[in-house]
Structure formats: C-alpha cells, structure tokens
C-alpha cells in the first residue's frame, strides 16, 4: 500500500542562532506527533481528508505552532483564527475565518464542508454554527502563550516608536 503525508508548522522559524537544542527537540517532536497522527489514518486505508485533519489537530493542540493553542495575537491582544480543508476528488471545501472559541479550527472547517451548504463562514456567524454543531469550545485564555504575547508587545512597541521593521520570520509570521 502506497500513501504519503507532508506537513508544515509554519515558515516563522526561530533564527538558527536562537534555536536551543531543547527548543529544536520540542519542535521536531511536535512535527513527528502530527505525522504519526496522520499516518495512523492512512495505514488503515483511511481517506486523505481524515489524515490531514488529524495531522492538523495535533499541530493545533501543540503550543509550539501558530494555530489553535499557541496562536498569535491581533493588535488588540485578541486571537482570530482561520482554517480550511479541501478534498481533491470531490473538490468539496470548507473554511472558517476570524473565529476564537472552537478548540480545533480545522474541525470547524470540516463542519462547514460537511454540515453546511457553504464553503466559507466567518466571525460570529461561524461561531454560532460551530456551537450548533456541538464542536468543543475553549475560553480565550486556552489559546494564550507568554511567548506570543511577548512578541505582540515587542511589535506594538516597534510600531509606537515607528522603528524600522527588522523583524525576523518568527516575529512576523508567528
């Protein structure tokens, strides 16, 4: 049986000189967990759509990565998350944008694809739909991490002082 899965945890990597051995091990462990989550679906003959969903859930649950728990902050110190899924054979697709509440935004996108006649739902309407679908919700604090909050404070200070934007990818992309 031939199958394969590829994942990314974002292009906002820490600068190599700032990456400690411990931090690197944490990132690689998070990536491996996600790969194995998706692989378990595929090796049982499961569909690609479920494999990518499980892999992204593992990454959303890992505060190392900028999605779900560990999301970056807006300039208002809030979280606004987006997610999308698409199935190649059927071209079915579902997405959410500007939400904060569903523990796993990728499951919100799946619900839009499978339980609505829409492709994209945003904001409060998307949140109400997710509640109707019985998705697991978390308080906003669940998504907080001190590292992301510190990055936000640094960015807001930069803007306040109108300093040139010399941020690295990690600061910019989260």
């Amino acid at each position: 049986m031939r199958f394969s899965l590829a994942i990314h945890g974002g292009a906002g990597t820490r600068p190599r000189e700032a990456m400690t051995g411990e931090a690197e091990a944490g990132f690689r462990a998070g990536l491996s967990r996600a790969l194995l989550s998706g692989c378990r679906v595929l090796e049982k003959g499961g569909p690609a759509l479920e494999a990518v969903t499980q892999a992204v859930i593992a990454l959303e649950d890992d505060p190392h990565f900028n999605a779900g728990r560990g999301s970056v902050y807006t300039s208002s110190s809030t979280h606004e998350m987006d997610a999308a899924v698409m199935d190649g054979a059927s071209r079915k697709a579902g997405a959410v944008a500007g939400i904060c509440g569903p523990r796993n935004p990728v499951l919100a996108a799946r619900a839009v694809m499978e339980k609505s006649e829409n492709v994209l739902l945003i904001g409060q309407g998307a949140m109400a739909f997710c509640r109707e679908q019985g998705l697991a919700f978390e308080e906003s604090a669940y998504f907080d991490t001190p590292e992301r909050f510190a990055a936000l404070q640094a960015e807001l200070e930069r803007r306040r002082l109108k300093r040139e934007d010399t941020r690295d990818d990690a600061a910019r992309h989260g």
Partner: protein
C-alpha cells in the same frame, strides 16, 4: 500557520491549513489560509497548504498557480512548486508550502530562512526539517 497534505492508498488527495495569522495583525485581517487557491487547495492533480505573507499568496493565487502549471503546463509538482515559491519571494511573499501529487510525491519549498516541516510514507518513518537540511 500549520498545514498538511496527503495522498491516501486510493490515490485521493486532500489539504488542510489552520492559523492564528500574523503577530499584531489588524482585527478582521484574513490571510491566505481560508482563501481556496491561495493558501489551501486540492484537486485531482495536487494538494497544497501554504504558510507565509498571506497578502502576497492571495494576490498571486499561489496554490492554484501550482495546480494550473501542472494541469495546463504539464509541469511536475516539484518544478511548479519550486518556481511559484521562488516567484513569490521575488514579489515580497516570504514563506513556503507543502504540496503532494497523485503519485504521492511531495515538495516542501520555502524562500525564507526555514520552515517547520515533515513527511511520512508507508514505511512509517517520520522525517522532520526546520532549516535547509
């Protein structure tokens, strides 16, 4: 941003992407993740999940550009994905993507310092990468 693309045993493809966006973004700002054809795409020939400067990935319809080059230009996944990511970099769109085709071949190009990434196949061996390695 995080994402995944997969080719299952039946040869079907799928993509998923999820993100908190960019640090200090304006409330209401939406990047390429939920814009199909920009940050997320899947059809019969490829599946793609992108990460990076979303505004540029949207304006260049990054994911769909790769799919179009494969479908219409008969380019390989690797050639199309590498070329589009390089072009995005020239246009100020720092970032990268993961892509897969119906044969299960993957491409993991990026035009910035690094990208947290990984791949796994039927051998069950998980490979992970961060910088160019």
């Amino acid at each position: 941003t995080v994402g995944a693309v997969a080719c299952d045993a039946a040869g079907n493809l799928a993509a998923a992407t999820s993100t908190g966006g960019m640090t200090g973004k304006l409330p209401g700002r939406v990047g390429d993740c939920p814009v199909f054809g920009a940050g997320t795409w899947a059809d019969e020939s490829c599946a793609i999940s992108a990460t990076g400067h979303g505004e540029v990935f949207i304006r260049y319809a990054a994911a769909h550009e790769i799919a179009a080059r494969m479908r219409l230009g008969k380019q390989s996944l690797a050639k199309a994905a590498e070329a589009v990511v390089a072009e995005l970099g020239i246009q100020g769109g720092s970032g990268g993507l993961v892509a897969i085709d119906a044969a299960g071949e993957v491409a993991l190009p990026f035009n910035c310092a690094g990208m947290y990434r990984g791949r796994i196949g039927a051998d069950g061996i998980a490979w992970t990468g961060i910088y160019r390695e």
